[in-house]
Amino acid sequence: MSELDNGNALSFSTIVTPSTLITQDAAFMKGHGTFVEKEKIYSSVSGTVDRINKLISVKSLKQRFVGEIGDTIVGRVTKLSQKRWMVDINSRQDAVLLLSSVNLPGGVQRRKSESDELQMRKFFKEGDLVFAEVQSLFGDGALSLHTRSVEYGKLRNGVMIKVNPLLVVRSRSHLHSLPCQVDVVLGVNGYIFIGKKVEKDKLEDISELLEMYSDTNDEIDELTRSNIARVYNSILILDRMLCRINDTTINCAFELGLPYQTSQLTNSEIADEIAVQVRIKIAST
Amino acid sequence: MFSSRAFDNRLVNVPEQSIPPFLEEPKSIKDSVINNSRLDGRDQVTPRLLFIKTGLVDKAHGSAYLEQGKIKISCAVYGPRPVVKAGAVISATTGNLECEFSFSSFSSSWRTVKQRDTEEKEISQILTQALGPSICLHMFPKSSIDVYVTVIESDGRLATIAAAIKCATIALVDASIDMFDVVTCVSASLFNNSWVIDCTQAEENEEDSSILLSYMVSSQEITNVIQTGKTSIELSQNGLNLCVDVGSKIYQAMCQYLSKSL
């Protein structure tokens, strides 16, 4: 065990490995990624040390998604059980989407009846993609989701791609309409949905609610399809090159990739080049 | 490592020089097949005669017995019934097809037990693949259909698999399980440049390459195909077409039997 702390402030870039002594000062409190033995705080994961006031935590460089209330996530329904759907969200356990936390067709205020409980497959089936927000945490750490907002709900007209969750940073909005007529839903859990742009005014239309559990795709023209593929490959590049993923970087990678054919983007040299350029652009802004 | 056997002076030693007895050169099977005069008198595109009988296993929901030359196969079908296999994936939309194929230990001339179990497993997979597309599995959600095939006697590896598929499909029809079509299956071997249908073991030993084709005649779909051995693409196409043609004829015979058995 090596001692890092000599009474000086730990810098953010300090990387620790499990069982590294972080501090002997009893004034500090242990947070995530640490444990206490004989009043000393050690790290339990390898990662960077993070200090907020007296709270010390270690953030791992590669960990599964840990949800917090208010996170917007993209998940995939894995199982149906009593009055709830289980949703894979790339976390250590499946999240729960209660039948009572979704909007059902026929008005927001509609009362849930027993027939709804028997036909839950009409709303979400195994394999369906859900855009939702974390509502609360259960006692065992499982997340409870809700889709009670017009922009949440079932995702269609596109595809999902999985990335490292740490590359997606929490921000105010996670539904971005890119200039290329493509919508990107950045789940902070590392699942990203890329789909055809949804018209904003249409979203507020009440009649749209009837279609909100539809499984059929709209007509997708070739240009949109090609743009979705370009965005897909751009995100793939950002993920593999460990660049932060947000609307700016995606757009940046998208534009840098325009001179190439879509299928060329996965070529390692071109991908390398794009990633370097994206990094430069981010640094300059 | 390879020292000669210990000298045993109780034995009479063989003379140091000897001449093998002069035997008539056995007629090559390959030559006779190419000259269209096979040992059992068939021509190249004629399969062996089929004997089919349904309903021999009374406990099963459907069963069939088939003879094709020396080949003798028995098959039983159970189901649709609730899934019994532990750990099987139960689907709310489609049924499950399980095929189990086994050789009896006296089924072939060489009694090689080694590697048999992986061979049986592979043939089970071929059976599942060949029969799967023919069964209306969407009509049997959360249920399984189990097909058990036992080879009593075999003669030609591929011909035996082909016979097993035919036997299983007839057993499935006998079990009144809804099917899109009756599956027919043909094996063929290539000798020089000509394809020969339904080869016996002796013939298969000399083959250059082989085809096993399972085919649904009325919907014109190939449910399974396995070709082994080097051929040109044209020859390969010819072989497939020949199998389809012969399969259609066998299909007629199978349907005829099924209609009569009713």
Partner: protein
């Protein structure tokens, strides 16, 4: 092995894209992802290769090692009955490392299917190898080549990298030289043949005819169209699979259909055969070029191409 389901709309999106010859990552239906290959990755084998098929350093990953053993000829083994040939035994194992759903026994059936597929493609005269060179003393001793493949990563389409790695491993194969001599038995005064394996590490021989080993193209049928080199999602929604192996001369070496959801029409099979005849010889050429490059890099000691650099592709 069973795939976790994907939604109806995704299925529709993927299959419509295939209809339009434009897949998720912008590839056309008959386009491969990048093949990466290294040879000589396992020192305990006589020949080995690792192949990865995918985008940007991830993807399906297959490692093939070839071990050789000398076996005593016994009559009755149908494979070596003739007495003047050796044999090749293939086995495929799928490591649970490869993907979540390969954990437990579920992968065994698939591995078995792959083993037989590989056997069908290479352990016979169709592989183009001269099996007579594996015979040491007729009706006495012969080489058995054990081709063991280990699947280390899965990202759709395992069969094509499997054959790709196998061919590369054969190109890397070096068998020790064997000297056969006549020995006079002291007791019986009978002359018989014996062999000796040379200890000299430089006394090795390559296998003739490895250039003729076929590569595979696996076509996955989605709706009415078909794709090669499918992704996991494409594999999950495909209704049938046809693997065609062909050598550098465009000769078909084996054809095998898998997956039991639907059948396919004879005309479609014909189309697939015609395409593979065009596709595979060019794939063989590109692999030859890659192997040559590898050999050059190996002889250039200043820039050693190790499996380590291969793994850390980025």
């Amino acid at each position: 092995m069973s795939f976790s389901p994907i939604s109806i709309s995704e299925t529709d999106y993927i299959s419509k894209g295939i209809e339009k010859n434009f897949r998720l990552d912008g590839r056309e239906n008959l386009m491969y992802r990048d093949f990466t290959v290294v040879t000589g990755v396992v020192s305990q084998t006589y020949g080995s290769a690792r192949c990865r098929l995918g985008h940007l350093g991830k993807g399906s990953d297959v490692l093939v090692g070839i071990k050789a053993e000398i076996a005593n000829w016994t009559p009755g083994d149908p494979e070596t009955e003739a007495g003047d040939i050796g044999k090749i035994v293939c086995n495929v194992e799928i490591s649970p490392i490869a993907a979540q759903f390969f954990v437990g026994r579920s992968s065994e059936e698939f591995a078995l299917e792959l083993s037989h597929l590989l056997t069908r493609a290479i352990s016979g005269p169709q592989s183009g190898l001269d099996f007579k060179q594996l015979c040491i003393i007729p009706k006495q001793a012969y080489w058995v080549l054990y081709v063991d493949a280990l699947v280390l990563g899965y990202d759709g389409n395992l069969i094509d990298p499997l054959l790709y790695a196998t061919r590369a491993a054969f190109s890397d194969l070096l068998l020790p030289k064997v000297i056969v001599e006549s020995v006079l038995d002291e007791d019986t005064k009978v002359e018989h043949q014996a062999f000796e394996i040379l200890d000299d590490p430089s006394a090795v021989q390559t296998l003739n005819g490895w250039e003729n080993i076929p590569l595979a193209a696996t076509f996955y049928i989605v709706g009415k169209r078909y794709v090669i080199d499918c992704s996991v999602d494409e594999e999950a929604i495909s209704s049938a699979r046809v693997t065609v192996t062909a050598n550098q001369n465009g000769e078909i070496c084996s054809v095998q259909k898998g997956n039991f959801k639907t059948g396919l029409s004879p005309s479609l099979l014909g189309e697939i055969l015609t395409i593979s005849k065009k596709l595979l010889p060019s794939l063989v050429l590109s692999q030859n070029a890659k192997l040559e490059q590898l050999n050059l890099a190996k002889s250039d000691s200043s820039a050693p191409e190790t499996s380590f650099t291969f793994l850390n592709f980025f």
